[in-house]
Amino acid sequence: MERGPLAPSVPQHPPEPPQAMGALRHASIPGAYAWAVTVAPLLWARGDGAWIARLAAGLSLAFLLMGAGLEPRLGPRRRFAFLWAFFIACAVAWGASPGSLAPSRFDAGREIAGMLGWGLFAFAAAAPPLRRGALVSGDASDDAPEPALPSYRRPARGDRLYAIFGIALALSIQLVGLHAAIPERALLVRFVALAAGLAAIGASQELALARHAVRVARGPSARFRAVFMPLAVLLVLLMAGILADESGLVR
C-alpha cells in the first residue's frame, strides 16, 4: 500500500473502534432516548407517591450515565448491576405514578417512540460483549488479551468534538415535528427523525475515524469519482429543487 502525503501524521496506534466499546456505553444513547420519551415526563408527576416517581426517574438516568461512564473500570459483571439498577428505577418510577399509565394519558406517538427507543436499547444492550484484545489484534483465541498500550486507550484529539457534534445534530433533529396533528403522522415523523439521528451519529463517527486512516494515493480518475461524484449528485438534487420551486411544481 502506498502512503499518501499525510502518511507521516498518521498516529502509531489508531483510535479505539466503536465496536470495542462496552455494551452499556453503546446502549446509553438509545437508553437515554427511551428514558426521555417514557420516564422523563414522570419528573413532573403529581399526586400520591409523586416524589417517589420523581426520585426514581432521576436516579434511573443517573444509573444509566454512571454505568456508561464507569464501564471501562467496572468490568462486565458490575456493568450489569448498573443496567439492572436503571431498569428497576424506571419500573419504580412507573409503579409509583400509576396515574401516568392510565389509558386516558396515553399518546400514540409517544408510545410508539418509546417502544422504538426501548427496542433499540435492548438491541444495543444485548450485543455480545466483544473482547477488546480480539478485536484489535484479530486474534479470536480464548487467551487473555495483552493489555493495550496507554496511547491506544486515550481518545485522539478532536474525536470527542466529532462525537459531540454528531449527538447534537441527532438531538436537534428530534426536536422537529413534535406537534403533528394526526397520531400516525406523528409516529412517522418520530421514526424518520430517529433514523436520521442515528445516521448522523454514525456518519460523525466515520468522519472521526477516517482522520486516522492511512491515505492511499490514487489516480486522478479514481480521485474524481470518489470526491466529486457524491457532490455532483447533491448539486443536481439541489438544482432540481430550485427549478421545481421556481416553476411552481411543488406548490
Binding site: 454528531g166 406537534h179 424518520v192 436520521a196 482522520r211 470526491v227
Partner: protein, 58 residues
C-alpha cells in the same frame, strides 16, 4: 484538519439541516417536500462520508 475534513463536516451539518427540513415538512403533511429534503439529507450524508474515506484524499 484538511480542506476535505472541513467540507465533510459542513456537508454533515447540511444533512442535519435537510433532515430537520424533511421532518418538519413531514409533520406538516407536505409529503413531496419531505421526500425531497430527506433525499437531500441522505445524499449530503453520503457525500460527507465518501469525501473522507481512505483513498479519496486529494
Amino acid at each position: 484538519m484538511r480542506l476535505l475534513d472541513w467540507l465533510a463536516a459542513a456537508l454533515l451539518l447540511g444533512s442535519g439541516a435537510a433532515f430537520v427540513g424533511g421532518a418538519g415538512a413531514l409533520s406538516r403533511a407536505e409529503d413531496l417536500q419531505a421526500i425531497y429534503w430527506l433525499g437531500v439529507g441522505i445524499a449530503s450524508l453520503r457525500a460527507a462520508v465518501q469525501l473522507v474515506r481512505p483513498g479519496a484524499g486529494a
